[in-house]
Amino acid sequence: MAGISQITIDWQTMYTQVDVVTIKVIPIYEKEKSTFNNYAGELDRYSSNFAERISAVLRELSSGDITNMVKELTHYSDGLHTTAMLSEETENHNVQSIKNNANSVLPN
């Protein structure tokens, strides 16, 4: 990265912040997909038009852009985790991983 001549990271604070992010963000992703899919399956047993359509929307939610956004949150927290644990020498590799992750979840 051009323009960066000095790397300064407060590891201890980083660890503290990573805990915050990891705890609060990751459970959202783990939960939302199964929750929405469960509800979609439950709604399938009903005979209402409303239920059928909401079921489809929930399936869309669990596989579409919302999920991508949650993945973003997750990757961000993963990035913090990884950054905190890696040494300066391997940071470039870490940066590349973050960018690759970003590309993989950007909308197509």
């Binding site: 990265m1 960066i4 000095q6 790397i7 300064t8 990271i9 407060d10 604070t13 980083m14 912040q17 915050v20 992010v21 609060k24 963000v25 959202i28 939302e32 929750t35 929405f36 509800y39 439950e42 709604l43 047993r45 009903y46 005979s47 209402s48 038009n49 409303f50 239920a51 059928e52 359509r53 909401i54 489809a56 929307v57 929930l58 939610l61 852009d65 919302i66 991508n68 956004m69 973003e72 949150l73 990757h75 961000y76 990035g79 913090l80 950054t83 890696l86 300066e88 940071e91 470039n92 870490n94 940066v95 973050i98 960018k99 970003a102 950007l106 909308p107 197509n108």
Partner: protein, 472 residues
């Protein structure tokens, strides 16, 4: 339309709560990221830069998708409330099941049976007498049975009374009950099925969410402001931030620093910048083009052709779901974002601090008009630029600069600012050198003459170190 509806309201209420929790979690995630960002701001490093960049993306995704979730939750809530108002199970945790044709058949059956039950033939008094046998089976021994006649007569009177008086009363009473049942069918059951059908069709429509968002916009200008801000944030994030030159960044800073920042640049462009929901919005107008437009009004037009064309190219290259179609007049903007905003054309007319956004349906303007005008006062949205927001400047096409350098073999040219400063400094240095030379060195090189310049016979050519008349 369905004939049978089986539905458990509790499931939808649970979904609504999950959506609310999900929205809250997104908000919590954003808050957490804010806290983390304040820490990252004190750090430096490539990974920190990359993480900060990702954080901007997350913020924009969250802002845009939160709308969809909020709209979905609101729709579910209003639908469940509406359906429960029409028909609800006695036990709140039970599943309700209604078959419309069965109810209709039942009503018809009741109506028919009631009509049959009360369609008794009229009774006419008879003069026929009753007899009883008092001896051998011979008519000679029969006597008139007046007691039985009295009983039959009393029964006849009762039946006649029922026929002529009570029958109508009870029939009317039954019809009233039937009317109540019919009323429930007409006012609750039919609307219940219609509502279910309508909501089902709404969600089946690929434009369902845009239409719902649009309805929200009509009633909630703040939501529209936020939406525009979030959408523009996404546009900016999707473009290549690095394309913005140093000069453009400086220009953006200069514009923003003026507060009320409309400015006319040297190339005749009117530029107006404001911040909506933290997103920088820049509008440019080619005043020359405007002068040539005989239909131009006093309003400022949004000249987006060049700007959005750049965005379109940038996004098209990324395979994004954004689609920008710029109208031939350079004013109408058709925006598609993941199927969300495709329901309308937006015609944006900024005037002073007010932006008028005129939406018209692009689905079927004749049969499905969605036209509405919403005006926003964005004066409160004008904020001092943040260092990071400057990075979001919309870039203009400056490829000629790089191409020119590339033509002479320079693949990594200096920035325009650096080049300009370099040329300026170089020019000053050269001028200073010439001046110093003329003052210090040149006088020492002058060969003194041998004549007195004040003498009448002074010949300036005689002292020259060469013969001016000599032909070489």
């Amino acid at each position: 339309m369905k004939d049978t509806i089986k539905v458990d309201y509790n499931t939808f209420e649970k979904i609504s709560k999950e959506l609310a929790a999900y929205l809250e979690n997104i908000d919590t995630g954003k808050t957490t990221l804010d806290q983390t960002q304040s820490f990252l701001d004190t750090q430096s490093g490539s990974a920190v830069e990359a993480l900060t960049e990702r954080r901007d993306e997350i913020d924009s995704y969250a802002a845009a998708h939160t709308f969809e979730l909020e709209v979905l939750k609101k729709k579910i809530d209003s639908t469940v409330t509406g359906m429960k108002t029409l028909l609800a199970p006695i036990s709140s945790d039970a599943t309700i099941q209604v078959r419309m044709s069965s109810v209709a058949e039942f009503l018809e059956e009741v109506k028919t049976q009631l009509a049959l039950a009360f369609a008794l033939p009229p009774i006419t008094p008879t003069s026929e007498k009753y007899y009883r046998i008092v001896g051998p089976a011979d008519a000679t021994y029969r006597v008139e049975d007046t007691a039985k006649y009295a009983i039959e007569e009393a029964n006849g009177d009762n039946i006649s009374k029922i026929q002529n008086k009570d029958k109508d009363k009870y029939y009317d009473e039954c019809l009233q009950h039937l009317g109540k049942m019919q009323s429930i069918y007409d006012n609750n059951i039919t609307p219940f099925f219609n509502l279910d059908n309508r909501i089902g069709n709404e969600f089946a429509d690929p434009m369902a969410v845009p239409k719902m968002v649009f309805e929200e916009f009509k009633n909630n200008p703040d939501m529209l402001k936020s939406f525009i801000g979030a959408q523009i944030s996404l546009m900016l994030l999707e473009t290549n931030k690095d394309k913005a030159t140093e000069m453009e960044k400086a220009l953006a800073e200069a514009l923003a620093a003026t507060g009320e920042n409309p400015a006319i640049t040297t190339n005749g462009m009117f530029e107006y910048t404001f911040y909506a929901n933290g997103a920088k919005c820049s509008y440019k107008v080619d005043l020359k083009a405007k002068a040539n437009n005989p239909n131009a009004t006093g309003e400022i037009e949004l000249a987006v052709a060049g700007q959005l064309a750049d965005l379109k190219n940038a996004l098209g290259a990324k395979g994004s779901n954004f689609i920008f179609a710029v109208g031939t007049d350079g004013v109408n903007v058709q925006t598609t974002y993941k199927g969300m905003a495709a329901a309308w054309n937006s015609r944006i007319l900024p005037t002073g601090n007010t932006i008028s956004v005129i939406f018209t349906s692009i689905i079927d303007p004749e049969t499905n008009p969605l036209g509405v005008t919403t005006s926003l006062d964005v004066s409160k949205q004008i904020q001092p630029p943040k260092a990071s927001s400057i990075q979001n400047s919309v870039s203009v096409n400056d490829s000629w600069y790089d191409e020119t350098w590339a033509a002479i073999g320079v693949s990594n040219p200096p920035s325009k600012t650096a080049l300009g400063v370099g040329l300026l400094v170089g020019t000053v240095v050269i001028y200073a050198a010439i001046d110093a030379f003329s003052r210090a060195v040149a006088p020492a090189m002058i060969i003194p003459g041998t004549q007195d310049p004040s003498s009448p016979s002074y010949d300036p050519l005689a002292d020259l170190p060469y013969d001016p008349n000599k032909v070489v």
